[in-house]
């Protein structure tokens, strides 16, 4: 989280100061948006997820213990849990999109620095969603396989398998070539 959240701001929010609450909302929105983009299966639910996440955050702000975890970690956990809850409702016996990719995107590992955040997210979204979900939880947010299995209601072995598949996909898409391909077109 680039923007720091001060303790005074948190205390003002606990006093239900509307200005402080709006300030906290504006500071946290980009980070929580990024988490939603990574975890949410149905992107149309982003606004609903953010609404639920902020309401949960403000209502349970008094339960935040600074000694247990950083504020960033605490906010991330709330947003991830809301995203996973929405995913459960959306993915169960619902859409089976069969998008026939005619071209697998590839990426130069050295070009990460030149890529914007949006481009990185778009690149990672090409990963099949079940693998991307495990990859996010394990690699970026530091959950263990046991915790992931409890959160997603899957077996620990399946969690390990999906993480392995995610790494295979990354391996497949990374090229050592100096040529950098940004040559896929998204259907908007």
């Amino acid at each position: 989280m680039k923007v720091e959240v001060s303790l005074n701001l948190i205390l003002s929010c606990l006093d239900k100061n509307p200005k402080a609450q709006k300030e906290l909302y504006q500071k946290l929105l980009p980070t929580m948006m990024a988490i939603c983009r990574r975890y949410l299966w149905n992107k149309n639910e982003t606004q609903d997820v953010l609404q639920e996440s902020f309401i949960s955050l403000f209502k349970s702000l008094k339960q935040y213990d600074i000694n247990k975890a950083s504020f960033k970690t605490w906010v991330s956990r709330i947003t991830i849990n809301v995203c996973l809850a929405f995913n459960k409702g959306s993915t169960k016996n619902s859409s089976t999109e069969l998008i026939i990719n005619l071209h697998e995107p590839s990426i130069n590992p050295n070009s990460l620095d030149s890529m914007s955040d949006e481009e990185i997210i778009k690149y990672l979204e090409q990963m099949p969603f079940p693998y991307f979900q495990i990859f996010n939880l394990f690699f970026f947010d530091g959950f263990t396989h046991r915790e992931i299995s409890e959160m997603l209601d899957i077996k620990v072995s399946l969690s390990r398998k999906r993480l392995a598949r995610a790494k295979e996909w990354l391996n497949k898409t990374i090229t050592d070539k100096n040529e950098f391909c940004k040559n896929y077109i998204f259907k908007q």
Binding site: M1, K2, P18, Q21, K22, Y25, L29, P30, T31, M33, A34, R37, R38, N42, K43, N44, T46, Q47, L50, Q51, F54, I55, F58, K59, G89, N93, S94, S95, T96, E97, L98, I99, I100, L102, H103, P109, L112, D113, D117, E118, I120, I121, F139, F140, K167, L170, N171, I174, E179, C181, N183, Y184, I185, K187
Partner: protein
């Protein structure tokens, strides 16, 4: 690879997205403010409506169950009281009779009549007809006459007398008089005649004694006429003692009166029995049913507008019915012989599959080469919606042995609980619904009517328990909504249900 992953991790951990087109910041903040300022989340008012039928049905059940048990208790108590009253009346009369002394007869200390000594009776013989006369016990003249009579009359020891005594003092008398005839065979015959005569009060206090010279066989002894002056001697027989009671009743010795009393009481109990039987028949048959079922939902858009035809055809072609389920409870009240009214509450979960495919041409570059390709997108989405239904159905039923068959027809009041899915918008683009909390932007309204017909076949398992199999046909009219550009949206629900029915009152 590891280097790449570490860089990726560092970028992701500091990732922030500023350009978020999916989110309206101001609208989002307003909705968050509403959410955090309300202490108690306000339930959607339609949820309250969903609980009302449950509450009504529960109150209805409790009320009828309470009345049923109360009626049973009252009827049992009343029947008990009737029998108790009957018994009490008989007991009272028995006590009264026991306490009533026999007039004109001397009673010992135990209130028992003193019978004529045997040795005295042996001296008496009946030689001629027996005459009844009155005797004033208190008069010394009578006492002397008694002894005189005793000396002149004899009674045959071996005579078996069975006498039927009819005593009437006066035709106008209405007081109850009783004559007790005792014989050596202890045959007791009682004749009652009710006579009253205020002038004959003195007479009624006296004993009527029989003077008889000989008495064999059956004799009719007719009491003397109303003659206050006649004082005839009466010879009591060792086999025969005749007494005439005055207006006080000896119930224990008057079976006819006793039987009259019995008849009165039994008449009363019959009346009460008839009353309760009628009351039982008047009770309406009420049944409680629990049911579950599966169904298919066939939805259809209809429009006469030329602008909507493409969208209408694509949506209708895309919607395919899937198996849904339902469960509920209902109460059936018998109105007339074969006519009944059914209502209740049902929770229905329906599913439809929305299919859509689209192709487009695309190009991509590989280095300096441009390649033309075509892409295809196939969408298969399960649209789900759930609702509560409160049916009000009129039914006819017919019974044949253990089988009952009939049909229910009526309307249903449906309240949408949730709906979620995918369809085509006005631009023929895929869109999810609901778009927002605004119900106008969902394909189905929060409330709509359905028209239902439901034939059924029941089989009686036990006295008050039966199982029922029934197909279910409904036309669900959603009306014209803004979501589908005012095209008429409706569904036909076809399904089958099984039910267990309990007869609460029968």
């Amino acid at each position: 690879m590891n280097d790449f992953l570490n860089k990726l991790k560092a970028r992701i951990n500091n990732l922030e997205l500023s350009n978020h087109t999916e989110v309206n910041e101001d609208a989002l903040w307003n909705s968050i403010q509403v959410g955090i300022t309300e202490d108690v989340k306000v339930e959607n008012p339609r949820n309250f409506l969903l609980y009302v039928p449950f509450l009504l049905a529960t109150l209805f059940l409790i009320g009828f169950t309470g009345l049923y048990f109360k009626n049973n208790k009252v009827s049992n108590e009343q029947q008990k009281n009737v029998s108790l009253n009957q018994q009490n009346s008989i007991d009272d009369l028995m006590k009264k009779s026991n306490s009533t002394p026999i007039p004109g007869v001397e009673m010992n200390d135990l209130d028992q009549p003193i019978l004529t000594p045997k040795d005295e009776l042996d001296q008496f013989t009946f030689n001629s007809s027996v005459e009844l006369s009155k005797r004033n016990n208190s008069s010394p003249e009578n006492n002397s006459k008694k002894s005189a009579v005793n000396s002149h009359s004899t009674i045959s020891k071996n005579s078996t007398v069975r006498n039927k005594v009819i005593a009437t003092q006066d035709n106008n008398n209405k007081d109850l008089q009783k004559i007790i005839v005792l014989s050596n065979n202890s045959v007791v015959e009682i004749e009652n005649k009710i006579t009253t005569d205020q002038n004959n009060e003195e007479l009624q206090q006296d004993n009527v004694e029989i003077n008889s010279s000989a008495l064999t066989g059956d004799n009719e002894i007719i009491a003397g006429q109303n003659n206050e002056e006649s004082q005839k001697d009466i010879i009591p027989s060792n086999h025969l003692a005749i007494e005439i009671a005055n207006e006080r009743l000896m119930v224990s010795m008057i079976p006819s009166v006793f039987s009259n009393l019995d008849q009165n009481q039994s008449r009363k109990s019959l009346d009460l029995e008839r009353y309760f039987t009628m009351k039982e028949k008047e009770k309406r048959k009420i049944s409680l049913g629990l049911f579950t079922g599966v169904h298919l939902l066939h939805s259809n858009l209809a429009s006469n507008s030329a602008d909507d035809q493409i969208r209408k055809n694509l949506v209708n072609a895309g919607l395919k019915p899937q198996l849904g389920c339902s469960a509920g409870a209902e109460i059936t009240i018998q109105l007339f012989k074969n006519l009944n009214l059914t209502s209740g509450i049902e929770y229905v979960k329906s599913v439809e599959q929305f299919n859509y495919s689209t192709k487009w041409d695309t190009t991509f570059q590989n280095g300096q080469n441009t390649i033309n390709q075509s892409s295809e997108r196939i969408v298969k989405h399960y649209n789900r919606h759930s609702f509560f239904s409160v049916p009000v159905l009129l039914g006819m039923e017919f019974q044949k042995g253990k089988f009952e068959f009939g049909a229910n027809i009526g309307v249903g009041f449906n309240f949408i609980r949730s709906q979620r899915g995918r369809t085509l918008d006005n631009n023929l683009d895929l869109t999810d619904f609901p778009l927002s909390e605004n119900s106008n932007l969902s394909p189905r309204p929060d409330f709509y009517l359905s028209y239902q017909i439901r034939p059924y076949l029941s089989y009686q398992l036990k006295k008050n328990l039966k199982i029922q199999l029934r197909p279910d046909f409904r036309i669900q009219n959603y009306g014209k909504l803004e979501f589908y550009n005012n095209m008429k949206f409706s569904s036909i629900l076809t399904g089958v249900q099984t039910a267990i029915v309990f007869d609460l009152f029968k």
